[in-house]
Symmetry: C2
Subunit: 161 residues, 2 copies
């Protein structure tokens, strides 16, 4: 039974779909081991500190980034859904144990991985509460930032493969 | 691994713990069948329309209430966690498919049910993003409202038992 308020999904989402030249199992490992995640998670020369990584629904996912100029980015959140080797969903609107947050940027990200040829189809779908937040995220450099991270993930996976 | 920001949980939560004189299985059924839920979900003479009820993590949970004076209360949301016969977690911060929302009142509610004597220990823990939202929820009549609904649930379960 569903009769939810209709939202214009296209206007609230940012989507990146990439064919990554690395095996899905390697990408999954690079994503789900925080020691590996920190190597590619944010565009270099920024660095990532993984403050919490509890890969299960309701488990904490908290990264803290530092830039060479002293800038920082504080990103608490939690995982919502985990399907091994295939799908990770996380959000900034809730933290550990489903506790509501007040994020500086409200979003839910769905990461999916599927075999495609010799590589992996890697899709990031980022949902926002409204078009204004989506547009702000884009203006903050979403496409450049997330694509750079996927480049870094691909290079890291190819090295460690 | 967890090193989440510390929050003062006591100051952000509202909790009701009640011994309900009805079997847990009956309460579970009254909660999880939308045709039954609508009978006790909001304080009478207000009425509940269940617009979506998809009892699984990420599934829509959307109620719309109407009062005798023409007032309405629009409450889209989604389920976060479902443990049959024992625990339901839902939130107003996300809707169907984990999509971020802009709720008029931001909260996550954890409902737990456990056998106790001849009845059921029914605990509602409602978490908010900050103390101001918690206090506003209390001022809106949280304790009276939710306790009235639990009275209605108890009476309904005893009738249908």
């Amino acid at each position: 039974m569903t009769n939810q308020t209709i939202v214009n999904v296209d206007q609230q989402d940012l989507v990146i779909s990439r064919l990554v030249r690395a095996p899905r199992a390697t990408l999954w490992k690079a994503w789900t081991d925080p020691k590996l995640l920190k190597e590619w998670w944010c565009p270099k020369p920024w660095t990532t500190e993984v403050r919490a990584f509890d890969l299960r629904p309701g488990g904490a996912f908290y990264t803290f980034m530092r830039g060479p100029d002293g800038g920082t980015s504080d990103n608490p959140g939690c995982f919502l859904e985990v399907i091994p080797q295939a799908r990770i969903v996380f959000t900034s609107l809730l933290t550990e144990g489903w506790r509501p947050a007040t994020p500086w940027l409200a979003f839910t990200a769905v990461i999916s991985m599927a075999d495609e040829g010799v590589g992996t189809r890697y899709v990031a779908t980022v949902m926002h509460p409204d078009k204004a937040t989506r547009d702000r995220h884009e203006e903050l450099g979403f496409f450049q930032g997330w694509n750079t991270c996927i480049d870094q993930l691909e290079a890291f996976a190819q090295q460690s493969h």
